[in-house]
Homo-oligomer: 385 residues x 2
DNA sequence: CACGCGAATGTGAACGCTCACAATTCGCGG
DNA sequence: CCGCGAATTGTGAGCGTTCACATTCGCGTG
């Protein structure tokens, strides 16, 4: 087996400042891997592995990159040596050389809102499945230029691409970066080598099912409690609501604008409650829907008997509220997955066409916060024309 | 918006074999900074800046690290050159040389639960305020060894430290890593150079106020709907509940174990409802409390008239439920901040004693899901002995 | 005026890795 | 036995930074 080669190593040691001598001394077991006492308290590098395995440093590199042209025997020896030393390749060095990081940056809002959170979780999972790491930078909502700042910070970390999650329209100079960008939801203006987008609308008509559900129950129209219009997500839901009404030839009331919080739903709910005509409301998220319901209840309107309410998100507790909330459940995991796939396809294979959307992303969860409007209830459920 | 640039790339070709495409920063204005056409289609490095500014590369480094001994005039010149080139220091190179990354890794559960999410957001903010970047790896609950795996993955990214957020007890071989570790909540067994902890209990007695509140309303005892006991957080809440009962000499009922979801609260709520003695329940999170309330309502028990319920977390909608939920509000931001401070102090100044906890972290939000027990209501609010 | 000292700047060697390009080996047909 | 290509392994040059160590410069002091 190992024919002389050990002789060859001994000679060339010009550079050995840190390389102690060939110590074979004490060693401790850690979890099945032997840790050789580090020569100088340094983490082992590929050269250390190479020395121990009696091969060149390059060969170690080959083994760890799964390149061809390594005999099984050598590979074994290298892997074994690596295990003994507790070696892990140094990503920084690799990134330095390769000029890419296998890391993508996410600009997100620092919020614990259910929608954004679950999107983030899904993004992480999707990224990790494809071998990418995620860097997350949160912007502070309302701080001007914070998206650009966040993007810069990611760029200096050397991310290969940037994802703008839940982008909001900061109404500023376009964001300019030199890596591919994926925006989830409609894009604010971005200048980059590649700009990709996954639109929420791609996965179906968002609010359409909610609106049609309410109309088919006999409501004359559906009011809308919108999210902050600087969020593209809010705009999408609003538009979808409007379109659904228009295509059903129902009147389109003036939408109210909240800020995602139950407080805002509550406040606007009191306004809505003053209008006796209101029998159905679609809220842009569940939190606002809940605030809204509370306001209605407090002003003596029953839900769903007097007013029907539909939310958006299907937060975990939605089914357990009183009354259980009818709501639209988006498939954030799917959204994240498709978006990331488009981005990564583009990264490794510039110019290819974006992956199509596989399936519908929205599901209306009909529960008990919706019912026929009061003047019709006794007549049963009528149909829309 | 629109596509990025495209032309302009034509010239450089030599080096672009591995780098996807040569689509580095092209020419043009970037956010007010002039980008000189790249000499070789490469991102500018400090040497380029140095050349342009007519100084040595080292001086550029000095400027960007805010070292002393740089004349104002030179600094200006360097900064100006850097701006012109659109230079950003390369973190990978720095990390390579420094052997640290200014990056800390977080092992978290991939969940959109409110508690963990808001903790994560707080961690990110705290980290960024101190110049650290965060890498987040989610574990999959229930997958064996996933914490160790996640930690390894962070390690190979070269993080300077690891935070175990919301750790769960996987009952496995101790986690062994070679960077400092911070565990938020009680630690599973970890072997590392430094192991720090922030306990939730440090910030107050968690559930104590909730239990005392209920007892003082006249309830004989308080039942507990616990979280999954593999989570240290659940154990803390359970213990705190038990201690509070014991120190009030109230009987300690057998706790029920849920899994954080409203479903589990609902299911266990039905069990609880069978026991006519139950007049007060403390749930380990709001979601379960909501499921519980639903179950109670369905079985004809009124909340709070027949049964009082207290939750934990104070999720945004808690105040807008019917009835508004009395709950314990933890200060996750504070928790994250103190924890991170301890970690960073330790990193830059090994051996110093951990920062103390500045303030109480729990606040009982008394709302309308709690009231005196049914048999006493008419007699007004009695006092505990 | 030499000397010294501190302020300001430059030098060259790593850091751990990958890549283009040898260099070595092996099998085998001519 | 030579040679040639394919399979394997080695070599050396950086990638952009930082660091220890010069080096230069300006100027007050003996």
């Amino acid at each position: 087996m190992s024919e002389g080669r050990d002789g060859a190593v001994g000679s060339g040691e010009g550079q050995s400042r840190d390389t102690g001598a060939g110590q074979g001394a004490g060693e401790g077991m850690v979890d099945g891997m032997v840790v050789e006492p580090d020569p100088h308290g340094r983490r082992p590098g590929s050269t250390d592995v190479a020395r121990l395995a009696g091969v060149s440093q390059k060969t170690v590199s080959r083994v760890f990159n799964g390149e061809r042209y390594v005999t099984e025997e050598v590979r074994e020896r290298v892997l074994d040596a690596a295990r003994r030393l507790g070696y892990r390749p140094n990503r920084a060095a690799r990134a330095l050389k390769l000029e890419r990081n296998h890391r993508i940056g996410v600009v997100s809002l620092g919020s614990a809102l259910f929608g954004p959170s679950s999107l983030l979780v899904s993004l992480e999972r999707a990224a990790r499945n494809t071998g990418y790491a995620l860097s997350i930078v949160n912007t502070i909502e309302g701080a001007r230029g914070s998206i650009a700042e966040a993007a810069q910070s990611l760029l200096s970390e050397g991310v290969d691409a940037i994802v703008l999650s839940e982008p909001i329209d900061e109404g500023e100079a376009p964001l300019r970066v030199d890596v591919p960008v994926l925006t989830i939801g409609r894009a604010p203006s971005v200048v980059a080598p590649v700009v990709l987008t996954v639109l929420e609308e791609e996965g179906g008509d968002l609010a359409g099912s909610a609106v049609r559900h309410l109309l088919s129950l006999g409501h004359v129209t559906v009011h809308h409690l919108a999210g902050p219009q600087r969020w593209w997500a809010s705009q999408g839901r609003l538009e979808s609501w409007r379109r659904a009404l228009e295509s059903a030839r129902a009147p389109v009331p003036v939408p109210l604008e909240g800020d995602w919080t139950p407080e805002s739903g509550y406040r606007l709910g009191h306004e809505l409650a003053r209008d006796g005509e209101v029998t159905a409301v679609f809220a842009a998220n569940d939190d606002m829907a809940i605030g809204l319901i509370r306001a209605l209840v407090e002003t003596g309107r029953r839900v769903p008997d007097d007013v029907s309410v539909v939310g958006f998100d299907d937060i975990p507790v939605a089914a357990y509220l009183t009354p259980p909330l009818t709501t639209v459940r988006p498939d954030n995991a799917l959204l994240a997955e498709v978006g990331l796939r488009r981005l990564l396809d583009q990264l490794k294979n510039p110019g290819c066409s974006p992956a199509a959307f596989p399936a519908s992303m929205y599901q209306l969860m009909v529960r008990e916060s919706t019912a026929p409007p009061p003047d019709r209830r006794d007549r049963g459920v009528p149909r829309m024309a």
